[in-house]
């Protein structure tokens, strides 16, 4: 073998990982957690990830009375012999050694190589074999540390279950998410609805260093529609939105108030009162009644509703805040939902910008829930119909949620539609792409449903814990995760990848834009024509 030998397997176990003693000539400083190495067993090769690097001494006395290392001769002799470097590695995959096993590809690890199996740096060919080439379902997401190999993400698998993108502010979550979305759109693996709380995905991303990058609309023009809650803000940013979203009072149901209880500071009694009002005035008319006729109600009316006067007053006062949301109107001139469904069902992608409401929790929760619930109902109906033999299944719909902890916190996760979607997984062909900086703020059950995770640097202990919850080899990966660089590095793991891997994510730049080419229509069908027939044959 021409590869550089790193050392020998000297101990360990499948569950705790293997220990490798580095050869004297190998510099321990060249090793890094997150790197891949290959262990050459008797019959197969094992791909293993470095999870820890340590120093060992053959003689404990050496630590107490260090030799005369000021003499380079002594130091050189001792290095690698009396003292040596150790790697802790986690075997991840076995690659069949004989020709018969090759077509089966890499297999999960069920055993470990024997003592004194040799360790080598993973070669380009090994990594290519594991991560596969870029093709109709895979996109290049980056390269492993110190390697030129491309790591591909299986977008079909990514879309079929929910995904999480986590990382501190400024670690490149948004660009990573844009890469994923662009990949999903280009390969036609899912229809996307992006709840764009910070107005990043539609037309243009503005990063903190004044760098600007293209949003999805610029990349895929007619394939992507920009909906907005705040037309003014969109126009100021030079976008002419495809649709301005308004929500009518009639679209808001008592369940939505339950979700808003925290944001609006409603007591449980007030929430009960909302349900009582809905029973009396109808699910679609209670809010209109409350906002328009609520004031000045006599105690008798309230008594008949079984609502205490104090509770009622508090409720009216708190819901006054809804009046200040201009997109909330008595009756929407053009209801947003049919429009949105028409786009999504025809395989086009929608970015919903929040404009100036980017910091308004009430707006986030209200709009995301109201829309997602209806869309989910529609998808569910179509799926059920399709299973009963009526019509075709809808394309997979991926809902992208920024600031996901607001919608998926343990307090509300059980009630929001997103909690339901995450738990149902792909049953009704709707999955989530959760983007957040505080995974610990997200309900544990939801976290466990995120089959693919893309983790940028996290530094709080709780966030690391939450981000890796339910992942095999969590203890080892934790070291890897907390040692990521603060930009453009991510630990990718889960359903869409054969093994966890640390990558330097690819640049979201001109080269990436060029590599995209025309988008495929989600759910099959030819790509959209670049030019219309009128343009081709002008009269």
């Amino acid at each position: 073998m021409t590869q550089e030998r790193l050392g020998l397997v000297v101990g360990g176990s499948l569950t705790r990982g293997l220990e490798i003693k580095l050869d004297p000539g190998v510099s321990i400083e060249n090793m890094a957690v997150g790197r891949y190495i290959v262990l050459q067993g008797e019959r197969r090769r094992f791909l293993a990830m470095v999870t820890d690097v340590s120093l060992g001494a053959m003689d404990p006395a050496l630590a107490l009375a260090p030799p005369e290392v000021s003499d380079p001769f002594f130091a050189e002799v001792m290095r690698g012999t009396a003292t040596y470097g150790k790697l802790q590695v986690m075997p991840m995959l076995a690659i069949g050694g004989d020709v018969a096993a090759l077509p089966a590809g890499p297999q999960p690890v069920k055993t470990v190589p024997a003592h004194f199996a040799e360790a080598y740096a993973a070669s380009q060919a090994d990594m290519e074999l594991v991560f596969g080439p870029e093709d109709e379902r895979r996109m290049v997401i980056g390269s492993p540390l110190d390697m030129e190999v491309k790591v591909c993400l299986d977008l079909e698998r990514l879309a079929e279950r929910s995904t999480g993108v986590f990382g501190k502010t400024g670690t490149g979550k948004t660009y990573l998410t844009l890469l994923l979305l662009a990949g999903l759109i280009q390969k036609g693996k899912a229809v996307n609805l992006v709840f764009d709380m910070h107005n990043d995905y539609g037309w243009q991303v503005s990063a903190e260093h004044g760098r600007r990058a293209k949003g999805l609309k610029q990349l895929f023009s007619s394939q992507v529609a920009v909906f907005t809650l705040d037309e003014e803000s969109s126009r100021r940013r030079g976008i002419s939105p495809d649709f301005v979203v308004e929500l009518g009072y009639d679209e808001i149901e008592p369940e939505d108030m339950a979700l808003l209880a925290e944001a609006l500071n409603l007591t449980p009694l007030a929430v009960d009162a909302v349900y009582a009002l809905a029973r009396r005035f109808g699910r679609s008319r209670w809010l209109k009644w409350l906002l328009e006729e609520g004031e000045g109600q006599t105690p008798e009316t309230l008594a008949s509703l079984n609502i205490a006067e104090g509770t009622f007053q508090a409720l009216t006062r708190r819901l006054e805040r809804l009046r200040r949301l201009p997109f909330l109107v008595e009756k929407a001139a053009r209801p947003a939902l049919p429009e949105l469904l028409q786009y999504l069902e025809s395989g086009r992608h929608v970015v919903l910008e929040f404009g100036r409401y980017d910091r308004d929790d009430v707006a986030h929760i209200l709009v995301a829930n109201v829309l997602a619930r209806r869309i989910h109902d529609r998808w569910r109906a179509r799926c059920e119909a399709a299973r009963g033999g009526g019509g075709s299944e809808p394309p997979i719909l991926v809902l992208t949620l920024e600031e996901a902890h607001k919608l998926l916190s343990p307090q509300v996760a059980r009630q929001t539609i997103f909690g339901t979607i995450a738990r149902e997984m792909r049953k009704f062909r709707v999955t989530l792409l959760v983007v957040d900086q505080r995974p610990s703020g997200i309900d544990g059950e939801i976290m466990s449903q995120l089959a693919t995770r893309l983790l940028c640097l996290l530094d709080s202990e709780e966030d690391i814990e939450a981000a890796l919850a339910g992942v095999p080899g969590k203890g080892e990966l934790r070291t890897v995760l907390s040692r990521l660089e603060s930009r453009q590095q991510a630990l990718l793991l889960g359903h869409a990848l054969p093994v966890p891997v640390v990558v330097r994510t690819r640049d979201y730049d001109e080269e990436f834009y060029r590599s995209l080419g025309p988008a495929r229509r989600a759910g099959g069908g030819p790509p959209e024509p670049e030019v219309t027939i009128e343009e081709l044959f002008p009269e």
């Binding site: 004297p24 053959m58 003689d59 006395a61 050496l62 009375a65 030799p67 005369e68 003499d71 001769f73 002594f74 050189e76 002799v77 001792m78 690698g80 012999t81 009396a82």
Partner: protein
Amino acid sequence: MALGTARPSPIGEVVAAETARFTAECYEVHCPPPLGSLVRAGEALGVVFRAETAGLEPGRVPIARGRGYAREEDVYRENPQLAKLLRTTFESLAVGSWDGQGLAIPRLPPAPPRLHGFVYLCPPEAVRAFTASWDFLDRLLAGPLGEASDQALAACLRAASATHPDSRAFLVAAGKELAPRLRGDLPRLTALLRGMRP
């Protein structure tokens, strides 16, 4: 390995031999081969680890004769019989054997060398070839004299290093071989390394 085809002149003669070591008497008094030299006697290859000069007859102990002389040489000039009454012997630890075709194997010879067999100093190319593998280290580390054998080993390695193209690299490699063999005995390792330091 080639042990030299030209016929070099012997430096001494075997006067006592056993499986693991042999003693030879030098033809010249006070001229034993340097500590750590690789020597050959019959089939046996040995590393010199001890040398001794003493009176020929056990009953006649050497006594001081230099009072009044200005220089050491004067003692021998004035007492020419001394060279005939003293003898120098050196002891070698058997570390390998010569197969007769000019190759060395790191294994003790099947039989100790014959008494009165000639002892030759191995030429540099033979030393280089023999020290290309490290098996002889174990024999020397188990030498009968403890610290003194270790010093012979250090001297042997230092001398051998001169026959290798990169003598420093040779010594470092030898040190790296010794380190695991002497684990748990750091002072001994340090002393050895100090003795062989380039």
